[in-house]
Symmetry: C2
């Protein structure tokens, strides 16, 4: 049996309900749905798109297998004819999307899907599940990368990631955003992301003394020894490292690479440990730091010139702890050739097939975005690009290194007001093109007229 | 190839480093490690344990397969002898744990693992990854269950869960805590959790009018019709439902079951829609509500008697949005027969194999917990129970319904101060037994003496 995460039944039940209702109505004209974020978290200046590769994998492999069909029969609420129709269900539509690592803002379509209604609608739950999480993490990780100002960041987040897929995907999304490596080993085998790792407290504790643990570890990994020195007393451990390092260097030619701090006042301790190491003739031993770090802590350490040459960042990055979800949606903007939108309070969105154009200033910095209709090509800087046509990829997907390189370019185009951690004032300007506003009015008027006619027909007297 | 989430390489690289270092040292005495939470999030009064079943599945199936071994060779930093030794690596130890759904507090061991050091230590990353997330969700969901005061809650969270495993496991954890059902269909096939679902905005939008959409849906699911009425104008849609319901009932014998509100002021709208339905002779049509609900919103709606008979809750439950992670750890408390602990600033923990005893008052309400050593059996209400012995289950695991029933019993024992959403003052009392405090002092003194001797040996002059 396939793993549950690869099965078509990884969906909300209502997607199946919709599918059967559309099947019963023989309703399957072309639908256009767009994935977008309604509002940025208040403290954020931009978001970074990620997860498109996994979305494509999902769409290309989507099908109901025998196990799925058996369950649908057993569930008892779907018709046999409908379940039979699912045997050749798959994704045959088009995908246009911002390339992964593109910076984007509220209301901008990140992915646009054009397909027969049943396909385009059915995929909603997993489309959001896939795009939301990696975008969430890449956006958070990008802030950390900006805050670190070139100091390498390593993903330490497996343990408190929300499950296995979150652990793997956050390793990918943070690597895209500019992290140097991950501790999550499976990410090396899956995505070829560099892995890194040091040692655990339990290893130190299991030895009679820290020196004994450090010595054993240095012998096991003579070419790559990073010693965790905060198990009992960080400064006392640093003194032991100085003496052990001298011994190992002189007697065995082993060079200790770094020490790791994982608790306490990292600024204070890094300065003290640096002094102990330097006075002991160990200027070549680096200091790396970890322990509940977020972008603000990283920025504080970097801006106060703490002598730290690498940061391990985990939980707060991959749970996006200050904003653990994005207010995102995947919504119908056109059906059977007519633009659509909903107007639910606080959740209205712009109708029609849309495109985003970005303008840059003379220095190559982002100046403003325009949200307009697809055919209203106001410049050649269209952010959404073709990805799938008729259910097939139109070009090989970019490599992870290419995506990572795109992230670097994207971050380089951020104006300084958006690079800072504090909210930019004023926020980045997004112009809604007159064509979009006009279409929204027309769609609303037409929907309202249809609703009034319906009410008239039923004799409903509206206030 | 196995799915990545089932592979031994779903671990932090440092676990493999430790494994090789222990292998090189032939170090593999019995180790005892405990999983616990250091601090409750400030606004929380209790936590609820979950995830033990998935932990047991992981331990029972843990092994390195050919793909893993090939990668370890290719990685180039591990010795051949070490990699060969992994061919028969597996979990052969003991597990003691609080049964799933047990309520617990800071510093209390939730799971205790006793095994040869290499096994007990290697599993750390995934042990935390498994236990942390479901515990996080069950704890959050339990607050929603208390706030709902008997009104059914349905998990709507797949889309913004952090990946597939989070979606599936949060369906399980929220069901344990007392949710009535989930929309995540794969949870029905995997865990036999009841599934529920309504309709999407895109379905409404794709039709010319709401009435047309409602009518089509009612015909597709005549026995189970819940209509989403907030796409354009909630009250206008409610009027249309009244007329459609009458028509369907009289002409076709179809009874609309409920309408769903998903935006706007749910209290106000539920009263207005109730009035419209009642005045239209549709008292039997229920109102269910969803849309960014958390326990506070649910409590407000329930306490103001909003006429809502079911809540759909998603994102804020399964991202545990107010506290998206727990400050949890899995730490060595004993090795080779000697108690251990670390003393890292802010991260010290209690040494030794521990047990938790709970005391109840005459009304059966929880009165206080005592954290003590395993052999110090102060009552027969020991919370940690044997689960695995020598790598094998000692009894069949409880069914999900039994676990859910345990959650109900557990919540019934909460004193009223802990049942409220606001922080209890005073907090629930946890007594640290004198035996534990004495052991901590002895462990610290012994470690300190060893460190001093080590420093003497190296000629380090400590302040």
């Amino acid at each position: 049996m396939r793993h549950f995460s690869d099965r078509a039944l990884l969906t909300d039940l209502y997607e199946l309900n919709m599918l059967q209702a559309c099947f019963a109505e023989r309703m399957n004209e072309t639908a256009v749905l767009e994935f977008f974020v309604r509002h940025l978290p208040p403290q954020r200046n931009f978001l970074m798109a990620a997860g498109l590769e996994q979305l494509v994998v999902y769409l290309l492999s989507l099908h109901f297998d025998e196990d799925d069909l058996v369950w649908l029969h057993e569930y008892g609420k779907f018709s046999d004819a409908f379940i039979d129709s699912l045997q050749d269900f798959g994704f045959t539509g088009d995908v246009d999307a911002m390339p992964e690592a593109t910076i984007f803002f509220a209301d901008e379509p990140v992915v646009r899907i054009t397909a027969p209604l049943r396909e385009a609608q059915f995929i909603e739950s997993r489309v959001i599940n896939i795009l939301h999480y990696q975008t969430l993490v890449a956006s958070k990780a990008a802030r950390m990368v900006l805050a670190a100002q070139g100091t390498p960041l390593i993903d330490f987040g497996l343990r408190r990631a929300h499950g296995a897929e979150a652990a793997l995907w956050s390793a990918r999304a943070s690597y895209i955003a500019g992290f140097a490596a991950t501790a999550t080993t499976i990410a090396a085998t899956t995505f070829d992301i560099p892995v890194a790792g040091t040692m655990a407290h339990s290893f130190v504790q299991a030895h009679e003394t820290e020196t004994a643990a450090f010595n054993a570890f240095a012998h096991a990994f003579p070419a790559n020894t990073t010693l965790l020195i905060d198990t009992y007393d960080t400064e006392m451990a640093a003194h032991q490292v100085v003496h052990l390092a001298r011994h190992l260097r002189e007697q065995e030619g082993i060079q200790i690479k770094a020490v790791r701090l994982n608790s306490g006042d990292l600024s204070l301790l890094s300065h003290r440990v640096r002094a102990i190491l330097d006075e002991g003739g160990c200027r070549e031993i680096d200091i790396v730091a970890s322990g509940n770090l977020d972008e603000y802590a990283v920025q504080d350490l970097v801006s106060t010139s703490a002598p730290i040459t690498g940061f391990g960042v985990g939980t707060r990055m991959n749970t996006s702890s200050d904003a653990p979800y994005l207010d995102c949606a995947y919504k119908l903007v056109e059906y059977a050739g007519r633009a659509r939108r909903k107007r639910s309070y606080g959740k209205a969105f712009w109708p029609g097939r849309k495109q985003v154009f970005r303008q840059f200033d003379a220095q190559g910095k982002m100046q403003c975005d325009t949200l307009t209709l697809q055919h209203d090509a106001i410049s050649d800087q269209a952010l959404l690009q073709p990805v799938l046509r008729g259910g097939r990829m139109i070009a090989p997907p970019p490599s992870l290194l290419e995506i990572r390189s795109n992230a670097r370019s994207q971050l380089a185009t951020l104006p300084s007001s958006l690079r800072q951690l504090a909210p930019a004032v004023p926020a980045y300007p997004i112009t809604i093109a007159p064509e979009v506003r006009a279409l929204a009015s027309a769609v609303d008027a037409s929907q309202h007229a249809a609703a009034e006619a319906e009410c008239m027909r039923w004799g409903i007297n509206m206030k």
